[in-house]
Symmetry: C2
Subunit: 333 residues, 2 copies
């Protein structure tokens, strides 16, 4: 068994993932990362280490004309070769606002649909140590505060913004079994060793995307200072996560008493606020330092009735000595 496959099955055990009787959706773009994950899972099935039902899900962002079409055909052929079920959809990505973020959201809505349709245990993505380091740098440059500098988790939850089942937002587990164990070049090497092609995502080479510039320009630049910069940054982001972990959860409730909050020192206040927001929104995506600071000002201001706006039509407001969180439900038109 190749080292790549051995590391995957060891991590699979460590993460407590299922070995049989479940359906697993694998998100496959056609790039080396996701192709290597599909190949390794296929090998583990062949070797009877995993007795699972695999579904390959490919979202065609349709942003690159014929190349997008070729990606989709490539992934379909891969699914046929591996004898995995294949699911695909062609998206209609809004080009207003942040294209990168719109594409990501559309992809996750598609994955939520497939996870529900196949009654899957979770959606498996092929994020690597490199993604961990890139995400850290992007958030560092953006100045998103310690929240954004903490690490992606191997198991997380995604909640659909659009899809509901019995009036509950659709949720699914995102599982990243390569996240802390594999570098991107290992995925490329593994595909080559298995004699499989992979697609070079042209979008990955398009420098108008922030992530691509970080990957293609900034990281090579930093490697001149430290050849092991990827591992170093991945370790740093893990340390920050660890540091943020011991939250004082006794303060966490539906609403926060302003008198109590005012007694906290700054560090503890930030911790409590983070934990409280996480309690309400399930993650802290798009919450920036500026939002936390605005809530801090709201807490200490003597005026009543002020409001802080968070991303995604959310607000934190003050009422009768308490802070409340509210998410305005956006009805589909």
């Amino acid at each position: 068994m190749k080292n790549f496959v051995r590391k995957l099955i060891t991590n699979w055990r460590k993460l407590g993932l299922p070995f049989f009787d479940e359906t697993i959706v694998i998100a496959v773009s056609g790039g080396a990362d996701s192709v290597s994950l599909a190949l390794a899972l296929h090998e583990l099935k062949q070797r009877k280490k995993l007795n699972l039902n695999f579904v390959i899900a490919h979202f065609n962002h349709d942003l690159r004309g014929i190349e997008s079409e070729k990606d989709a055909q490539f992934v379909q052929k891969l699914a046929e070769n591996l004898d995995f079920q294949f699911e695909t959809e062609t998206g209609n990505i809004s080009t207003t606002g942040n294209l990168e973020e719109n594409a990501r959201l559309a992809r996750y809505e598609f994955l939520a649909k497939i996870a529900q349709k196949t009654n899957a245990y979770g959606v498996f993505t092929a994020h690597t140590i490199n993604d961990q380091a890139e995400t850290f740098l992007m958030n560092l440059i953006r100045g998103s505060g310690l929240l954004g500098l903490s690490a992606m988790k191997p198991i997380a939850e995604f909640q659909s913004k659009e899809l509901r089942v019995e009036s509950q937002a659709l949720r699914f587990q995102i599982i990243r079994p390569l996240l802390n164990i594999t570098k991107r070049e290992e995925t490329e090497n593994f595909c080559q060793e298995k004699g499989f092609e992979f697609r070079k995502d042209e979008m990955n080479a398009d420098e108008k995307f922030f992530r691509v510039r970080v990957r293609k320009k900034l990281i090579p630049f930093l490697q001149e200072f430290n050849p092991k910069i990827i591992e170093t940054l991945a370790k740093t982001t893990s340390l920050i996560t660890l540091e943020l972990q011991p939250l004082n959860t006794e303060f966490i409730s539906e609403r926060l008493k302003i008198n109590d909050l005012q007694k906290l020192d700054k560090a503890l206040f930030y911790n409590v606020l983070r934990a409280w927001l996480k309690h309400h929104r399930s993650d802290l995506r798009n919450v920036d330092l500026k939002h936390i600071e605005a809530i801090e000002r709201l807490t200490h201001s003597r005026k009543s009735g002020r409001i802080v706006e968070l991303p995604n039509a959310e607000t934190v407001y003050k009422k009768q000595g308490y802070l409340y969180y509210e998410k305005t439900r956006v009805e589909k038109s």
Copy 2:
């Protein structure tokens, strides 16, 4: 009063620094940062805002021949112009090991001597927001863990490794009154506005120094991603400091009980260890993640009598169920 001077006196008050009856040593290299600090303090003296005795201290690293000599002459003339006492010494920097670090240490030993000789309140250095951001990046690239990623403080303590008074190591306060309020370009502009020259430290342009490469190459590169990267990084390092602040100091004592340590989760263990090491060494300079991890292994290992070596002839060792810290005193030959 220029904005630069106004910001300085406001911060002076905020930091609780003295207004009269004290001697203040200003460390002046001749670069814009330190010249602007000396000029601003001189102006505050003229305006009778500060009634202090100022001493300009210049350490000649003697690493650049005639240019080093010209720097020293330039600073001496500056001191004469401002009617400040002038102290200087020409160093003999060891070129074995890290030249940059050796130069820094020699400079601080000189400053310790001058601070003692003049019975000074403290040594004032002209670190700016830029230094904060550069130090953060250097430590990030080195992978020095969260300790290294936390911010320089406006008031810190330096303990001499060489000089002793009545068998006590010589200590002095380092005060950085420009640290979180001024960018480097403001110091250059202020010198120009005052019609004063400053020296362009050639060493600052020598790219074999890590800091110089960070300053001249990496930061401009990052500015293409975020024009406010200096402020962003300075803010991030402050946030990390804040996060590391609420240490559980009840655990801190001369020795640490291993049974207690083993009960702590990883995050708390790291916090306790950091606080304990800080208690013993006064700062965490040169303590890396690898040292903390080694002490973690020592704590959890069943074997007795193992030792972890820290930089500067320090050790942490296990004895009869406790961790001990020891610094081997290096006698001068």
